[in-house]
């Protein structure tokens, strides 16, 4: 049988963002995949060296929408490390609350799109409706549905009074109930299991070789979570379960995300219980001397790492970050090889692709 090449992208109905795949197929089976990237390369790393440390909080929040809180959070952690700033305890808990709210919304968006790609549009709408609760939470607490603007150097710039805390707790009760129902559907529904089990497999060995992180790694049995391995904010005082699956297929990645969304609800509740009173940020603007720092956090898609070099001036001498999606594109080639052409959109979605993050 003759092989031929199908171009997918850069603009394609099944892709949210532009990426160009050259998929070589024999009959219905994918033989190899070549990726051409760079369609939304914007040179933000260069721009960051022209902005002050404070302006960069705003700039990094705009690298990506779904993990928009993780970027400024990790950037602030790098600055705090160089400046020798220790966060007030309440600020550490509030950072966890903001991060976990974003994680629930991000994971639900991904599993909703999966239902849509299967053709199960009533489930898609149901999951998006549940996600809408989180969008309302974000809008009510932060004033925005995507960019929270929660972080400052030395703390956060929002607080939860008794009324807001009670509102958040009530929404978490509602999410707990809705997520249990959704998780049960994904675990048992015949259409979902048939289309996603055994599809787009990334073995444990390949996951380690590709150095993937986050839910993609954990669905292949790699028990790595920055919140546990390199605790930051208040995670060293919280009970953070690390959920792993063994099969490394599309279904395992969806189940991992749903389990993590439920764990995030519990983490927010733990914070509401344990959060002490006190200031939410250090007073004043700390002096930032020359130095270099590494900061890491567990973004919704996995380990996000920032490298910052300062020279004592207003702007960073160098700011570099690597997003969790960066290694997923290589892993995607392994997942797609041997798969059916019809499953390509499902497999691409299963890495929770973020191209604006990857290319910066």
């Amino acid at each position: 049988m003759n092989a031929f090449t199908i171009p997918v992208g850069p603009l394609h109905v099944a892709l949210e963002e532009p990426m160009y795949f050259k998929v070589e197929v024999e009959g219905e089976t994918v033989v190899s995949v070549d990726i051409t990237a760079g369609h939304v390369h914007r040179g933000i790393e260069y721009l960051a060296t022209k902005r002050s440390l404070y302006q960069n909080i705003t700039l990094t929040e705009r690298i990506c929408s779904l993990c928009s809180n993780s970027h400024p959070e990790t950037f602030c952690m790098a600055v705090e490390r160089i400046a020798g700033v220790r966060l007030p305890e309440r600020a550490e808990y509030l950072r966890v609350v903001a991060g976990e709210i974003k994680r629930i919304a991000s994971h639900l968006f991904n599993v909703a799109i999966m239902a849509h790609l299967i053709g199960f549009d009533s489930l898609f709408m149901h999951v998006m409706e549940t996600r809408e609760v989180m969008q309302d939470v974000k809008e009510s607490l932060f004033g925005n549905r995507m960019d929270l603007g929660a972080n400052v150097i030395g703390g956060v710039r929002y607080d939860l009074d008794a009324e807001r805390g009670a509102y958040l707790a009530a929404q978490m009760d509602r999410m707990d109930r809705d997520l249990a129902e959704i998780a049960h559907l994904y675990a048992t529904n015949h259409s979902i299991l048939q289309r996603t089990r055994g599809v787009g497999v990334l073995s444990h060995a390949d996951a380690l070789a590709c150095a993937v992180v986050g839910p993609v790694a954990r669905a292949s049995g790699v028990a790595y979570d920055v919140r546990v391995k390199a605790p930051y904010a208040a995670y060293d005082r919280l009970d953070v379960p690390v959920h792993i699956e063994r099969d490394g297929d599309v279904w395992s990645r969806a189940v991992t995300r749903l389990t993590e969304a439920r764990a995030a609800v519990d983490l927010i509740r733990q914070c509401l219980r344990a959060m002490p009173e006190g200031p939410v940020a250090v007073a004043g603007r700390p002096a930032v001397p020359d130095g270099e720092a590494i900061a890491k956090c567990e973004a919704p898609r996995g380990e996000l790492i920032y490298y910052l070099r300062t020279d004592g001036g207003k702007t960073p001498e160098r700011l570099k970050w690597r997003v969790p999606s960066y290694m997923n594109w290589d892993a995607l080639g392994i997942m797609m090889t041997g798969a059916k052409v019809a499953d390509v959109p499902l497999i691409v979605n299963s890495i929770d692709p973020c191209i604006s993050c990857t290319e910066r």
């Binding site: 990237a37 760079g38 390369h41 260069y46 022209k50 490390r81 220790r86 380690l208 070789a209 590709c210 150095a211 920055v226 546990v228 391995k229 390199a230 605790p231 930051y232 060293d236 270099e292 720092a293 590494i294 890491k296 380990e303 790492i305 490298y307 070099r309 020279d311 001498e317 160098r318 570099k320 690597r322 960066y326 290694m327 594109w329 290589d330 290319e359």
Partner: protein, 198 residues
């Protein structure tokens, strides 16, 4: 309390005969960040091999051109950098960030601008592929032994080393138009004043 392996300094020193300088810092939560500068860039591959054997994961690679140190007039010149490469604003620093089960160890090598070549880590760490291709296209650094040195994000039609060459758009427009426009407005205003007075 730290999990950071204490014998790693000796292992890296044995792999890098030209010498290393290692510093480390453990934060209040027990997470260690360590920096290891290699005196000779040819020791990079053996040092990375030591880390690979200990199960390290390559997180990412940062490339940049550090600013030359400020030297006040009459002051003592700064000590020569450990790698014997003069930081003249043109030389490159490559920082390879490795994850050691939560802790971070960064291997640092310096490259002079006129001999900027470094060994590829892609044969050891599969994910070095994209990171190396990315710094190859934004700086004039060559990577020896890269299995697939194509462009990553930037189109083939764009000349290489964009971060060393391109003039920022803001600099461009400031020089070309803003002051001209402002002078034109001020001149017209002055002329209008004179015209009104006479």
């Amino acid at each position: 309390m730290t999990r950071f392996p204490d014998d790693i300094e000796a292992a890296l020193a044995a792999a890098a005969p030209a010498g290393i300088a290692l510093k480390r810092d453990t934060d209040a939560k027990g997470v260690t960040v360590a920096w290891c500068t290699l005196a000779d860039r040819r020791d990079l591959l053996p040092a990375a091999t030591v880390l690979k054997a200990r199960g390290a994961r390559l997180s990412t690679i940062t490339a940049f051109q550090p600013k030359p140190p400020d030297v006040e007039e009459g002051a003592e010149p700064p000590p020569p950098p450990p790698a014997g490469v003069v930081i003249d604003g043109q030389a490159y620093e490559l920082a390879y960030h490795f994850d050691l089960d939560g802790d971070t160890l960064t291997l640092v090598v310096l490259l002079p601008h006129d001999a900027a070549e470094v060994d590829s880590l892609t044969p050891l760490f599969r994910n070095a592929d994209w990171a190396e291709r990315e710094f190859m296209e934004i700086y004039a650094i060559r990577v020896a032994g890269h299995p697939d040195p194509r462009r990553l994000f930037i189109d083939e039609s764009v000349e290489p080393a964009v971060l060393e060459r391109l003039i920022p758009f803001s600099t461009l427009v400031n020089a070309a138009s803003t002051s001209t426009l402002w002078e034109k407005i001020m001149t017209k205003k002055e002329e209008a004043k004179k015209g009104g007075a006479s």
